[in-house]
Subunit: 356 residues, 2 copies
Amino acid sequence: MNIGEIAKRAGVSRSTVSYALSGKRTVSEATRRRILRVIDEAGYRPNASARALAEGRTRTIALVIPPAGRRLTPIQLGFVASVVAAAGLHELDVLLSPSGGEHDRSFERIISGRRVDGVILMEVRLQDARAARLRESGLPFVAIGHTADAGTGCWVDLDYEGLIGNCVHHLADLGHRAIALINRPQEFLDSGYGPARRALDGFTAAAAARSLTATAICCPDDAMAGEACVENLLAAHPAITGIVTANEAALPGMERSLRRLGRAVPGQISITGVVGRHWAEEFHPPLTAADVPISDMADRAVGLLVERISSPAGPERHILLTPPISLRSSTAPPVQRAECDPALPSQGSHAECLTS
Amino acid sequence: MNIGEIAKRAGVSRSTVSYALSGKRTVSEATRRRILRVIDEAGYRPNASARALAEGRTRTIALVIPPAGRRLTPIQLGFVASVVAAAGLHELDVLLSPSGGEHDRSFERIISGRRVDGVILMEVRLQDARAARLRESGLPFVAIGHTADAGTGCWVDLDYEGLIGNCVHHLADLGHRAIALINRPQEFLDSGYGPARRALDGFTAAAAARSLTATAICCPDDAMAGEACVENLLAAHPAITGIVTANEAALPGMERSLRRLGRAVPGQISITGVVGRHWAEEFHPPLTAADVPISDMADRAVGLLVERISSPAGPERHILLTPPISLRSSTAPPVQRAECDPALPSQGSHAECLTS
DNA sequence: TTGTAAGCGTTATCAC
DNA sequence: GTGATAACGCTTACAA
């Protein structure tokens, strides 16, 4: 069933059918109705490929995600779902492209085959080959995260530097003097992953400004690693009373080790950081943290992209978000360590620690 | 840059360029080389829309996922990533369609606009409107999960009934007499979600076969709910020594409540079930469970779909997988409850429970 | 071994 | 207000 068949049945030309559907030319109410009835009866829908060829646009965008091998974090998953939802509001479909390395089949296929009108890039690195490739191709794109060259291109990002800095100040304000940062994995830092780098910078600068004793460590993106990290950290630096984390995937493990060590939160150890809201709420006790505004970021990214597609010559907009710290229950003023020695976790009940 | 321009520069006709690229007709080595060089210099790639229009196929498949509102579980996320990866191996791109309800814009747009060559349907219900719609459209599709009418359509699914049954038998073999099932949310059961239904059936049947005291409860898909469920369950049925779970998202909460209640795993409570491998490994202690073979299922689903696309008249294949239970450390023979009374969780150290 | 030309199903530009 | 008709860029008989 194609537009020609509809035209024949309705006794009009193909162009009239097309215009009756698009409204780009006035069609008499009578013929319009007739056409619509025929279309309805036949269950006709325009062929997307033909339309794309004729219009020169596909009504589709690509979402470039990290490759399947590297497990996606829940935050990333959230982005995928939110971007798809936001795109749907603009009648845009979403093509998924798992692309990490340089040699990428799917990415290249999508870009150079003109399969999409624009691209949303996730997990952008400070130096990003995909961003460079896209710039060269002239295809509109917006990044979630930004490259070292913040001035060019469209992007929406979180102000990790400021956010982590705020966390440090929050702990300092409560009276903590020795704090630690649990950052994303070491290889992220090494490979120039912006959030990891900026988290470290923000942590170091704020800690220096407040004259705090600061320890920054990297931690793989999973619970087991989080468990080990916290354990090692507290063994090596027993004076630490505050932790700020940029690693949400490590959170369940952190909770586990703290409990095993008999360190009450926030009684003996305060924890804060920047993580997805869901993780903050599932932490025990609920985590005082800067919540990553996932769907907000996705909406803005799609909005920026839609704007860019419709006017490619327009200004390149950047959106840097600094969500506030949501006060929940995981931070408090530090307490004297002597009250409950973590070196002896199994000595009788921990009641006095838990309630201190 | 289009095929005509390449033809002109190489001094041949457009068809020769096309054939040089597709190999569907022999082209002399000399002209072939010349064409390829020109293509390379110009950075030419065939336009996907034009090709789709001419060939009548889009080289794209759709992956229908639950809508954004309902948070995707990590297993579902795993499917998305794995399907995309598997599709890539077949040079297929993946269009994401978040579709749950009946009236779905994106789903309809993709199906009736012929945007894809085939569809993979996730989270199929026993009665599924999308499956019905697809059957009516004639578009090849394979479901992950199967409808009540198991005989028709292509699908790959887990044998939840058998799997949960195996878990029950495993506990019975160890000597457990009173067990419980932590199932997916109540509304899933009510709305005819196959895995929830079949899990319940398998549990009930196997428990009856072994003359066990069995309690089945539903639990929302999150940690906090898991915490409450286990707490209520053990309060209401103190005799329970074994739990089988079909709900991986509740696992972290279950772990938490068990620890708080002072019930050692597997010392006092054995836990098993069917969950994603990652969750089983992150549980504490590592969970003895039937691991959901996510990427295997995704590979098979894509394989089935590719086969169906190339020969739509072929047989409708079904794949029912029954992965084995991976023995880890969360099950053991039951122990006399009197040794460690859970009603008094804070009475001194729990050492004797933990090591029992 | 290669070229010509007829589609594929739309949209959009001209006429009337 | 409506109908021809030419793109859009590619694939693929059909000829040569």
